[in-house]
Subunit: 324 residues, 2 copies
Amino acid sequence: MIQKYSIGIDIGGTNTVYGIVNTRGDIVSKGSMSTTISDNVIEYTKLLGRAIKEMMRRADISPKRVVGVGIGAPCANFTTGVIEAATDLPWPSPIPLKDLMEKELELPVRVTNDANAATIGEMYYGSARGMANFLMITLGTGVGSGIVCNGQLLTGSRGFAGELGHCSVREGRGRLCGCGRKDCLQNYASAKGVVLTALDMMDENQDIPSLMRDITRENLTAKDVYEAALKGDTLALRTFEYTGEVLGRSCADFASFSDPEAIILFGGVAGAFEFIYPAMRRAMEENILHLYRDRIRILRSGLEASEAAVLGASALVWLPGKAS
Amino acid sequence: MIQKYSIGIDIGGTNTVYGIVNTRGDIVSKGSMSTTISDNVIEYTKLLGRAIKEMMRRADISPKRVVGVGIGAPCANFTTGVIEAATDLPWPSPIPLKDLMEKELELPVRVTNDANAATIGEMYYGSARGMANFLMITLGTGVGSGIVCNGQLLTGSRGFAGELGHCSVREGRGRLCGCGRKDCLQNYASAKGVVLTALDMMDENQDIPSLMRDITRENLTAKDVYEAALKGDTLALRTFEYTGEVLGRSCADFASFSDPEAIILFGGVAGAFEFIYPAMRRAMEENILHLYRDRIRILRSGLEASEAAVLGASALVWLPGKAS
């Protein structure tokens, strides 16, 4: 049987990475270009299309063996194929990304946002392999999510399902979110949320020494908090404990929605899984409805961070059903 | 073409009602029996099976024209076909309801809980006709829910999806829920929740007269609050306003999960829709993520209360896919 391939593209604010993926989930060829190579999106898609065709030629893979192209991009809508309102891309929205890339590559294209792409990657190649019902929560610059029910990615009536990072946190501290509201989960479980919690911890515990006090407030990063935690720093450990508690309480409510088999954590902050997990598990079980107690697994992503974006985007091609 | 039928059965704590439904959603024949007719569930299903066969004979509808049987019952699990842990039925759980009734009727049987049955009824015959993505919230003795995404009823990994009545309310008053936790939505938006709010309103506003003060605290019902509101009673009106606010804030978070086209209110308390709706709409829009703002309809159920249970159960038969 002839090996089939899919192409995955991840469009970030700075870089665009892409690769050819075989059906086992191996990236057989990859490349990248600057997302800011042109401030004209049509010019950008032309250059991207040319780079991908060149990659196929070099890898000696004919377009006939490529089933389709999947693209993960900020605010990209699976249902419409359009980037709706991205603030961190160099072009004005809306951008008809699916149509533009289908024209360049003459292959079927599906698009979705970064969190959904990671979710699909996890389902096909990562920790959620074989699961038909799970939640993926991406803890990065923001908090994104992807929801799989009955083996399908939840898209909702207009493609905007799965914004769990913007569910409100019950015991909020009044943190203002970029969306204009207060106390979204994102303000507690993102990299920035971790930093805000660390600052609160230091303010509220003046008597407790901390390695984090050696760094100015403006320069403290989630990575600094993680490194302090690795050295046993009390306030850094408490910061991740609190992050886990907030996540656990939120996930207890999320369970009531879709009765998932597992909740999977992905993204930079999930790198601190060892420090977040115990408190998250405890808070989730303490706050969850009895029907779900002790039945939902909390897992960390099973994908290499450097490959997840391309793998996830490429796996969009294998989703059943039709997009836009 | 020969007219096809489905049979709907609603098993409540006191009464069991059933009917034969045509494909347009007309109940062409109906009947009822006491749920407590026997404390042996096998005996009960035998009697129920006999009553339903008798109904088909009287209506001159041959079993060959009946596509299947749908049953709504407390804690019935669509995925397993079993009543898992019902506290208000006269028989010990678990009850293999699907198997028992298939044996009696020799027809395919599907079961689900009351809220899901109502949801499916709404999708086929009510306010959600033609919608592929909506939430149904049943405001009755408790608060139940049913979630439809991509035209499918969300069941989750073990059949327990859609317990939105047990999501926690952000600004809670410490009300203890029957599930053992505090401040579930159910404690605010159920009939009992409305009464608790009315009592709080009277306690916190001693200076404001109210018709509700003529009734003893123990005897006050949600219906009393509704009747007072109809007469313009300030505290009764504020009670429903608060109920609407809590519902609206909760629904703002629910939107982030499944991006629904509409939220449909059903059940006794939804009878006060006129008093709940304005505050619910306002609170939902004020607290919702911009992606969903002004895009989600709030509707009341489109089914006759007396027919909804049987219609909803019967419509289970028309769901695509397989149950248990």
